[in-house]
């Protein structure tokens, strides 16, 4: 039997081998036209972050820019950012998980229940908490992908049910303390100063080497590559941000001379590792591609032979598991778990973080870094308004307004993107 092949004609193509490499100026103007076309990515969030920081620095020059408050931001934002990173997966496939907040509460309750009430070892309790997230995610994913319940309803039901589960596990007594040093230190202790520098430098070197390696590979194969100037600028920016943050966090921030508090909070490298892992999954693996494809056109993805419901279930699994990890962070920070853990504004802040960062509520568009940037915006609002002495009521109103603004930016840029042929 003959195997038909197309004639190996046209060895030279304008698309490969001899592409015209863009100059630095062209790359920048391409980016500008992309933003104008509605493909803004995290730009609005970064601008918002800069403006918010400027405002709070101007209003509270003593407290807001202090090293102590900078460290606070990371510890306050840890829960939100962690849940938001998981939510990105669910949002990417065009679904929503309203139960992510209380799932973090369930994980916290499992942790406290096994650790304090049943005296398990801390690592077993941690494992149990994470497994509870996995189970929740599997059930939610199954309800949505296999049974066909709209995710809004399935996760709303879970939102209600899990509040009951938390109450049941913690008993009528209410707050259960979490005292295992390993858990408590996640959010309350810091890396030694030297380790902060070592990890920061390693991260920067790895990023730089990866960027240059990609650039050289693409150049060698004659593929379109970003101009080297742009690569250098990006690496320089990342170096500045990472090492700058390490430098600030390594300053002494104790108010009394008796104790010393300095170093990168332990939770920071944990979140960085989680973000790198999830980002790798999303951008470098076939499975990550399939997640975007399901969000873009589920039917096309199915016809391409991809098991769409499996992709959906895994996205819910990742979301709930990340929520569970966030629940452990929350328990560590509070050194206890109360029946309201993960309730009230937790979920809305996390959704807001992802959407403010540039993840679309319509599916198919979003990145892990969106959760980090959006989470920073939320943390800065929460922290800065607290320093200004505003009550919870005003914080809620402002955060709600910011979320509505972010969702409006999402919807409008989507409309603009459609008009200019970019999605």
């Amino acid at each position: 039997m003959t195997t038909p092949t197309l004639s190996p004609s046209a060895p030279t193509s304008p698309l490969v081998g001899n592409v015209e490499q863009p100059t630095f100026g062209e790359a920048v103007s391409n980016y500008v036209s992309r933003v104008r076309g509605g493909d803004m990515g995290s730009l609005p969030a970064i601008l918002a972050l800069v403006v918010l920081c400027a405002v709070f620095v101007a209003l509270r020059p003593e407290t807001f820019p202090s090293a102590g408050n900078f460290a606070n931001l990371f510890q306050q934002g840890a829960l939100i950012v962690t849940i938001a990173m998981g939510l990105v997966f669910v949002l990417l496939i065009g679904e929503i998980d309203l139960s992510a907040g209380v799932t973090s509460g369930v994980a916290g309750a499992v942790l406290a229940y096994t650790l304090t009430l049943h005296h398990w070892a801390w690592y077993l309790s941690t494992l149990a908490a994470v497994v509870s997230g996995v189970v929740v995610g599997l059930v939610l994913g199954w309800l949505v992908a296999r049974i066909g319940i709209p995710s809004f309803i399935a996760t709303l039901a879970a939102f209600l049910a899990f509040q009951g589960v938390v109450l049941l596990m913690l008993g009528e007594g209410g707050t259960v303390p979490v005292r295992a040093p390993a858990i408590v230190s996640i959010q309350n202790d810091n890396l030694p100063v030297v380790w902060g520098w070592i990890l920061g430098v390693v991260a920067v070197l790895a990023y730089g080497a990866g960027s240059v390696n990609t650039w050289m590979t693409r150049r060698r194969k004659g593929l379109l590559a970003a101009p080297i100037g742009l690569v250098v600028v990006k690496v320089a920016a990342v170096t500045l941000v990472v090492l700058g943050a390490v430098a600030v966090l390594n300053q002494e921030r104790s108010k009394s001379a008796a104790v010393s508090i300095k170093g990168v909070p332990i939770v920071v490298p944990i979140i960085v590792v989680l973000a790198l892992g999830l980002g790798f999954l999303l951008t470098r693996t076939a499975f990550g591609r399939h997640i975007y494809a399901v969000g873009g056109n589920a039917e096309a993805t199915r016809r391409a032979g991809i098991a769409v419901s499996r992709v959906r279930i895994v996205c819910f699994l990742i979301c709930s598991t990340m929520a569970a990890v966030g629940g452990i962070f929350a328990a560590s920070r509070a050194t206890s778990v109360d029946p309201n853990a993960g309730g009230s504004n937790t979920l809305l802040y996390a959704v807001a973080a992802a959407v403010i960062g540039g993840t679309s509520l319509f599916g198919g568009k979003g990145r892990i870094v969106d959760a980090l940037i959006g989470g920073a915006v939320i943390a800065v609002i929460d922290n800065g308004m607290g320093l200004l002495g505003y009550s919870a009521s005003v914080k809620y109103i402002v955060t709600g307004a910011v979320l509505a603004g972010a969702a409006a930016v999402d919807a409008l840029s989507r409309r603009r993107a459609r008009a200019t042929g970019r999605v």
Binding site: L6, L15, V16, T217, L224, A293, A304, G305
Partner: protein
């Protein structure tokens, strides 16, 4: 029921795809009530029929989207069971759907490799995919695309169709099915796509072209299979038939003259089925 294939000449190589008596029901609706189709390598086989005749259902059955309820499928002479899209791909059957089945939020390369990404270990091999995608587009003489890293959403209808077809031929496929590839295109783009269709067949692939447009059909097709209310009315050689004859087959399901002009033996339809019920 007579077996239409018993008259097939023994000398010729088996057709790339042969469907015999394919049936498909959706509840009480009999979408396909016995269809026969022969698609040979190096030929464009047009699949025509009025709205609701079952063209889309037939190609979805061949593609494994929903398998036949009854009937026989032979792929290169061997019986084949196509249970899902992956099985169809494995055989070398690729379908370009009317609604294109592209993901707007992915770029051209990722769309072309969707579901069959090239990997180094667990990591996507972007450079290899990009190189191969560009080569395939070049071999199809596609010169209108600015960059293969642009999102599909920014492409014109003809460009999207080209990407979808390029994706179908990326895998050394043996049978490419095109569902109304020119339906939404302008004159110039239609011409480009039809030339592309002809090139696919000339390269040795079996091409099935679903179309409403008799101009398109007679421009590129070698063989024409006519569906009428879920049944095959006839499969005729394009060179031996006239436009009027084909249109009559499409509208009435039979040839008024009673002489099935140029009917290929493999697709001759027993007369008891020509006058089958028309209530579908």
């Amino acid at each position: 029921m007579t077996d239409p294939a018993t008259h097939a000449p023994d000398l010729a190589p088996p057709p790339t795809l042969e469907v015999r008596g394919g049936r498909k029901n959706f509840g009480a609706v009999h979408a396909l009530r016995g269809v026969d189709l022969v698609a040979r390598a190096g030929e464009v086989t047009a699949l025509v029929g009025d709205n609701g005749a079952g063209k889309s259902t037939l190609i979805k059955c061949i593609a494994g989207i929903y398998p036949f309820d009854a009937g026989e499928v032979l792929f290169q002479g061997e019986p084949a069971h196509i249970a899902d899209p992956a099985a169809a791909s494995e055989l070398g059957i690729e379908v370009v759907y009317q609604d294109l089945a592209l993901c707007d939020n992915l770029d051209i390369v990722h769309n072309m490799f969707l579901g069959r990404e090239l990997k180094k270990g667990v990591v996507l091999d972007e450079a290899a995919m990009e190189t191969k995608a560009a080569e395939v587009l070049a071999s199809l003489s596609v010169r209108t695309v600015r960059s293969i890293r642009q999102h599909v959403a920014s492409l014109s209808g003809g460009q999207r169709q080209t990407v979808a077809i390029a994706r179908a031929v990326l895998w050394n496929s043996k049978l490419v099915i095109l569902d109304e590839p020119t339906a939404a295109l302008g004159v110039a783009q239609t011409e480009q796509v039809l030339q592309l269709v002809r090139r696919l067949a000339d390269a040795g692939l079996a091409v099935v072209l679903v179309s409403h447009n008799m101009n398109d059909v007679f421009e590129v097709a070698d063989s024409i299979s006519v569906l009428y209310l879920g049944q095959t009315a006839a499969q005729v050689r394009a060179a031996d038939s006239s436009r009027a004859q084909v249109i009559e087959l499409i509208t009435s399901g039979s040839n008024a003259a009673g002489t099935p002009v140029g009917v290929t033996p493999a697709a001759a339809v027993p007369s008891d089925r020509q006058n089958g019920s028309t209530q579908a």
